[in-house]
Symmetry: C2
DNA sequence: CGAGATATTGACTAGGCTCAATTGAAGTGG
DNA sequence: CCACTTCAATTGAGCCTAGTCAATATCTCG
């Protein structure tokens, strides 16, 4: 665990290698995975508002992070307007990303959610010179379910269904996407027909 | 409509009077209300990442906003570090707020969602010297449902159930909270018992 | 090899959605 | 002023998706 919800905020973290998840906890004990982070992505952006992190960051494998002390970032931002601009953009993107998750949780059915999740992973791996069609999940079914607002059983069943439909191969955590277009098709269905 | 998803971003907006909603649209047509904004709150924070708004802002009644051109904000931030700090905090808070919505959409059942929504409204009105127990909703059942990831029928039924349980009175859009503690109790249930 | 996670699969249940009809409120024009 | 339209809200019946509970299988690691 890199930091815990409630810890005082003084830095954001950039992942140099490995993979992490962030978890928000509700008074009452219910938890939800609020994001998965891979190489090059930033954790802890939620902390600067209240001066405390409101989620916990947990490594999913051996992970190396780069500590970016917030006072230093603010100083750099002050000195270089272009850096200031970048930093605002990074925060704003996180908001956009959250909107997508809200859309997923609020409007999609289980199949669509998992398809969207896999496609998102796929494109993120692609941007990092990994194969977009073959990669290893670093998280458990339970983590995926929590992130997508589903149960681990549902995730497991969906993987089975996707395999039977010839959309992908899955062996434990190794995923191989066989029909990228087919996954995409699952997304648009239910909305307006593509015209 | 103040701005539309895809419009080029050049300003954020502060509400001076009235009430607005923001709506994200999915390729495929599905829409979701991503937030309700009242006096003093900021809209359009999601736009600075990509240079385009990714949601639309729609007034729910006659509304006056204050236009805050982003270049101006950046300049002010550069000149006054304390202002820069505030601006980062505002963005970060929006991320925290989104985490709460994700938690709501991902882990709560219908009753809990509506209770959480009403309590949130209540405390926001309180902070603005309105009564926290008596206020008028500015949005339709459909808007509420969309925001909470439920259908308008479910919202309507829940209002009925809450009324029968003596938790509140509701006449069209006028709400009167009769049992604040009772609403809160709906939230913690389902999680771990308070100990 | 054994213990404890993690995954898979089945049977059953229930919460919330869909479809549909009705009522109510607010606005429009003759 | 009142029919007429339109939009919003309520209510009911039935269904379906995903959750729950439970049993088993498989992995990982000490």
């Amino acid at each position: 665990m890199l930091f815990k919800a409630g810890d005082p905020f003084h830095a954001i973290y950039a992942i140099r290698s490995g993979c992490m998840k962030s978890v928000v906890t509700r008074k009452g004990g219910a938890e939800q995975v609020s994001g998965f982070y891979m190489v090059g992505e930033l954790l802890g952006l939620d902390g600067m508002g209240r001066g405390r992190y409101d989620c916990s960051a947990i490594a999913l494998e051996d992970t190396v992070v780069c500590v970016l002390p917030f006072p230093l970032l603010e100083q750099l931002a002050h000195e270089r307007p272009s850096f200031q601009h970048r930093l605002y953009a990074v925060l704003s993107r996180e908001i956009s990303r959250n909107h997508n998750v809200m859309l997923l949780l609020g409007t999609m059915r289980a199949e669509e959610r998992l398809a969207a999740f896999l496609l998102s992973l796929s494109s993120r791996f692609a941007r990092r010179d990994h194969s977009p069609f073959e990669f290893a999940l670093r998280m458990t079914r339970e983590d995926i379910g929590s992130y997508l607002g589903l149960t681990l059983e549902t995730i497991s069943r969906l993987f089975g269904r996707f395999r039977n439909a010839g959309l992908l191969e899955i062996d434990q955590r190794k995923v191989r996407i066989r029909d990228h277009a087919g996954l995409k098709a699952l997304l648009s269905e239910g909305g307006a027909p593509a015209d």
